[in-house]
Symmetry: D2
């Protein structure tokens, strides 16, 4: 394995997403056979000195910083992995691009399309590899769905319906974290969850051409995280949208963090003239398909495909049939894809989402907010 290229990783942020990314860097060298490159955990940055030092020790980063500018300046960092809050996506990514670093940015790429466009321009100008972490493209079942549609097996696509339902804000006691302020998050359920749906629509079906949408904030004041008074919630708790997609497909999108009982319920369904398929992230090892052609002896119906066969996307790296994967595996596939793009100068798109995808995604999210605010149909530019 000596011939494998080493790629120095600099990570911004070390919470939920950071842990998932670290796990991918640390396991892919022995899980992916052969690995596309060898990630080296060069440095990690975060605002709190004690916390970032602990994270560096726990995860095995060689250095740690409390200022992202030092991370970006560190010559051992070749890839910036930006898992910070949405308000620190643009500046570090742009600076890193200018320093010639490759880029992996968590979603949504930015707080709005304007920021996203600046990031895209910087990445393009620097000619670095750039990826937005729309990790659900790397669920084996979702990738199988993509392959089936790409190969024309579903025929003409008539419907796409997707919802991403969670319930962690149902209680009025949940604190007003950075995710609930426009300044830090850009938007609420829309950017956090809905951007995944927009990406899936674009990945699987095609470009949205128009939207009609409504947003809702059910609880407008919440306790601040420190326990000190309350803060205003100025982002959407939920949105619902009707979308039109190229090719004449009619769609619906909805995201909320108030769907009591739904934990990580990302579901979508695609109906074509020759086949349909549906997916639920809480059962991410399964893809349901239906073929117009039916089955032997009158046995047409919805087939629950357990996407764990060695012939299924990504599975040959893992376990025998029926030995199911979990959520974090998506990052192993995603980051292996990016490392391969970097090490072997291959394109991130169309399998991975680039900053261009992130920018177009942001345009659509912005259009959803505009439609909701103005009560009218908005065409996507």
């Amino acid at each position: 394995m000596d011939a494998l290229k080493e790629i120095g990783v600099g990570m911004l942020g070390y919470a939920f997403m950071g842990k998932a990314h670290v796990n991918a860097y640390r396991t892919l060298p022995y899980m992916i056979d052969p690995p596309p490159a060898l990630p080296r955990l060069a440095a990690i940055a975060g605002r709190n000195e004690a916390a970032v030092a602990a994270a560096a020790a726990r995860y095995g980063f060689a250095a740690h910083y409390t200022d992202w500018r030092r991370l970006v300046a560190d010559p051992t960092v070749e890839l910036l992995d930006n898992g910070g809050s949405n308000d620190v996506h643009a500046a570090p990514c742009i600076a890193a691009a200018e320093a010639g670093k490759h880029l992996l940015c968590e979603k949504p790429i930015a707080r709005n399309a304007t920021e996203a466009k600046q990031m895209l321009d910087a990445a393009r100008h620097a000619r670095v590899k750039h990826m937005v972490a729309f990790n659900y493209r790397f669920v084996p079942a979702v990738r199988l769905a993509y392959d089936l549609i790409r190969d024309g097996r579903l025929g003409e696509i008539r419907h796409f319906r997707a919802a991403y339902l969670q319930d962690w804000l149902t209680s009025a006691d949940s604190p007003r974290t950075w995710r609930l302020a426009r300044e830090t998050a850009g938007s609420g359920a829309l950017g956090d969850l809905g951007s995944h749906l927009v990406d899936l629509a674009r990945f699987l079906v095609g470009e949205p051409t128009a939207v009609m949408a409504r947003t809702k904030t059910f609880i407008t004041e919440r306790p601040l995280p420190g326990g000190d008074g309350t803060g205003r919630v100025d982002v959407d708790d939920a949105f619902a949208a009707v979308i039109e997609l190229e090719g004449g497909c009619l769609g619906t999108l909805e995201a909320t963090r108030f769907a009591l009982g739904r934990k990580n319920h990302q579901v979508f369904e695609v109906n074509g003239s020759k086949g349909s398929l549906s997916f639920n992230l809480e059962r991410l090892n399964e893809l349901n398909v239906h073929w117009a052609a039916g089955g032997p002896g009158g046995t047409g119906g919805w087939t629950e495909v357990l996407v764990t066969e060695p012939t299924h996307p990504f599975i040959a790296n893992w376990w025998p049939p029926g030995h199911v994967l979990g959520w974090e595996h998506t990052f192993v596939h995603e980051i292996a894809h990016l490392l391969d793009a970097i090490a072997n100068d291959r394109p991130v798109a169309p399998i991975g989402a680039t900053f261009e995808d992130g920018y177009r995604n942001a345009l659509i999210c912005d259009a959803i907010l505009e439609s909701a605010a103005e009560g009218r149909r908005v065409e996507i530019g």
Copy 2:
């Protein structure tokens, strides 16, 4: 049982819905114990002499007519059961009301709200009982959902999402029946399927206050039923809408006859602050519920309630637990409810849908069409 009131039924139409209604009239006297009244199959009307005569013989009607005016004029008819196409809902119902007959009309009540208003006015003026056959109110699981919400068990309702998906128009070879022409049907998937969703929204949650919608006609020209040339499809093949409901609930509605693989897939979900529930008509004996309060020892989750216990709505009339009911049973419950209202002068509402419900439903459907045509949010009058 001699003391039971007899009610003479005059039926308009004898196809799909006619058979379902007849079955209800014929089985409820021994299935419902005690029955609320004894229906007498007085007369049936249809355009084709041979067909209506055969239907009368098969189903046991005492008389048959080819002109609905004769049905309405028949003095043995006390209740007009109107299962004709949507363009023959208004005139016969209005005439029957004027003749003092009680009214049961299939859904949608009319081709538009204007017709519906005339029907409502006629029924009110005549002081007869009037019901629109929104039979899904009489699914035991749906009625259980109603009871749970009415009793406040779900808390404040935040979301209602409903879809009614079928696939029988997926093929371009399906003929252009009366259901695909505005003249006879009023609208397409909207009136046929969507009106059920609108009724469920109103029955379970409350009045919609505004809509944003889009319609779609995928195939605009189809072979005429006789095989003689083609006809234009000038109704919607599908619609999707974002709705707002009183009390701040955000909802989505969608209906289509192009969702390949979905046969009679009417699904809805309600999310409240204290509980959630979901339903699928293809598994109509089941209601799924989730309680914020959780379960013993960390066992909170979605409970699949098999709605076949003797304590569940309507079930005491039928079989032991787990001996499931079918689609047609909804009509037995519905018609028993109407006969009880007639025989004992009880109100049809709020459990049954009246012509007022039919009218308000039509207003909302009209608003959906208007929003789709104009690309803007439409408030419900």
Copy 3:
């Protein structure tokens, strides 16, 4: 319909099963098109004068008796429908056969194989039509399973596993009805539920050749129904068996009335070399199938077939796709099959279960009890 043969029905018993049978007689003339014959409700018998008179009035029987001998002697009765407790299966059926009446007997056919053999001999000698009401053969999904296996689509059958789980005896307060006494019932869960599984094994796969079994009585003393003291439970509350079937198939059977949460959970699975299928009575409109051949583009898996297409068994008589059937419909199909056999002198077997099937079923049930009692493998004679 004048040409249709009328068949006079004499019914013994009017509780649970009686109501289900009556419903079949009353609805099949208009549900089955054309009906095979026209049942005439000639007479009904039961021990309690008031109750049987009420049942006759409610269900529309022309006469009623408190002594089954009078029912059997009634010349207007051409078919004895025996839905009495298991201890009144043999004598009335044998007497009716001797009087030249056709026979429909609820399952299990008798308390043991000896009684069953006498019934079979009487029916054969009288050359009347005879059927045991193993109604689950007439579930559309079960009949579809039968057709698929019969046509060889599953290849060589390796496994059959079946369980029939209910929970109505979980509580020690449930009374000791006739079903819990050997004198009246013959056996417990075995005869009541297990006999269905034995019939499905024979119907779908083939003859069992040997059994190893264990029975269990969890609660041996229960309150008598009248509230007057307690009575001994001397039948099995549950049994479990390993069975071997002709052709080398290995199987398991289990039935219990102590599976808390299982209401009418009759499930079976068949694994062949080319296909597998599974079924759950609580979702009786669905059959799950799996084909070794797989699906397009790597989409092999278990297909949930909604058995409501017009091409599926029995469905053309009912409703459009997705408009699901209920439990009682099985009796409509079953009794239509029997009336056709009677009216048109067609064989009841192999689609319907004859008294020969009832007798062989009883032999296997007796072997299960013997194996359980002696702790050894018992070969089926």
Copy 4:
């Protein structure tokens, strides 16, 4: 983290199970917070020099050997992790125990109870920690089931039914690997899959007291792995057993590798007097529970618990609710449990399975084979 004890791991075998164990050793230091100890990958052994060298490089072992005796003799090895075929379980484990190494052995512990007893005696005599890798005890849902039963929430246990169904031997072309020869495997589906079911029965319910069983070998001759001729299959392809458990519980066990369409379908159900639960390994993040006490407003039923809440067993180490785990996570929990037992001198039992559990498991498996061979009920010694 300097204070953490380091434990040198010596691994025998590097295929399927080896990869799963390695992943646990490599990820638990940052996934489990804090980790119980720090595993050091000291050495790995396998018969093929090139393959074992490649495995050592890929997985990061400091040394590699082609003779397990050198592994056992290596002073840097403190824990022997034996993932070899069943015929190399006993000798290396016994030798390692004699050398004072702790022991982790894949299941089944040995080819038969005699070997297992020797292993248990050696481990006990050496006073080392010993564990059999019954990893399904460490599925969060299974552990939740254990907790619920242990706390008495299910009441008196009446039924346990378990099946482990796979299909990878359905085709006659599948080669005769070491798993299909008695010399190397001991038994077939019984030891490979059935031993897991026996362990779950013992872990969840209690000791089996008697069995009645049958085995089956469907295909007795298969191609040898090298492609050179065929070899005899002298182990069971499937077994089915009725078991009796202490406390009066009646159970069934079945395992097969011929259940076409079942990939890793390990299912069990427990019925108690107060509650029931069921599980399916292919949906390992879910546990289904039913409570006799019912739910609010008539909403009793089976609750699908998504076992991903921070309060659920093991979950606090991972991700937010609904971000599901995969199969390999079981090993992380299992090995963390063992390292904790070693580092802090805590008992492996009752949460983990010891060699005593392995031995008792082997006794039961031997009894199943004896019952099958002799056609009689066998009591467990």
